[in-house]
């Protein structure tokens, strides 16, 4: 069984095409969960510019996906994160998880998006219509969301 698929790319992705690619020719998948993160137009935002650390970012995503693969009985997993300049309405991140049953697919999908927000080296800069820009600050609520998946000591 193949392991997780990880991609960091500037190009847009298509949820339908990625779902079809993950499930094509398979008869062992009973549930496919998906999460798509989109660029919101908060406070007059004109664009988000996403920066990453080539090499480390892919390694970090692979580690997070491998962790999900080890913790849940997954039969498929795709994680795609875009970089570069994105305008409101565009997709930023895709997480797909497949399993024989829904619980593993849904839980691992939530785990992956919570963990990649705090454990993968990406940085967002917001550009506004007036020409101002600012770096997005990390949120304590994201740390708390990731922490709920910590294994008991």
């Amino acid at each position: 069984m193949p392991g997780p698929t990880i991609r960091v790319q500037e190009a847009a992705f298509d949820l339908g095409a990625e779902s079809a690619a993950l499930t094509a020719g398979r008869d062992d998948i009973g549930g496919l969960a998906s999460f798509v993160g989109l660029c919101r137009a908060d406070d007059g935002l004109a664009a988000l510019v996403l920066e990453h650390y080539p090499g480390m970012t892919e390694r970090a995503l692979q580690k997070i996906a491998d962790e999900a693969w080890a913790r849940w009985p997954l039969t498929g997993c795709t994680v795609i994160h875009r970089v570069g300049r994105l305008v409101p309405g565009e997709p930023i991140v895709l997480v797909l998880t497949a399993s024989a049953h829904r619980a593993a697919a849904l839980e691992s999908c939530a785990f992956l998006i919570d963990w990649l927000k705090t454990s993968a080296p990406f940085w967002k800069r917001e550009e506004f219509a007036g020409g101002d820009s600012r770096w997005v600050e990390a949120k304590a609520t994201d740390d708390a969301a990731a922490a709920r998946w910590a294994k008991p000591a």
């Binding site: 650390y53 993968a120 080296p121 940085w123 800069r125 770096w135 600050e137």
Partner: protein, 83 residues
Amino acid sequence: MKILYFAWVRQKVGLAEEDVTPPASVTDVAGLVGWLAGRSPGHAAAFADPRQVRAAVNQDFATPAQAVAPGDEVAFFPPVTGG
């Protein structure tokens, strides 16, 4: 030692990367931060509050106590904001 900077740390330092040869007294990430901060006003501004800066050594997240050695790739950046 190869040093990489990302996001606002890169903007404040004014460099995306540089090759440096710290003195032998620099043995960990915290020591490296202290030494780098003395290289220019931009470096000093980037590391003015070290608690706001995260580090990676050889592409793994690192604590201030993590050892560094010649030949390592060390990166400094703000807390991550992907997803």
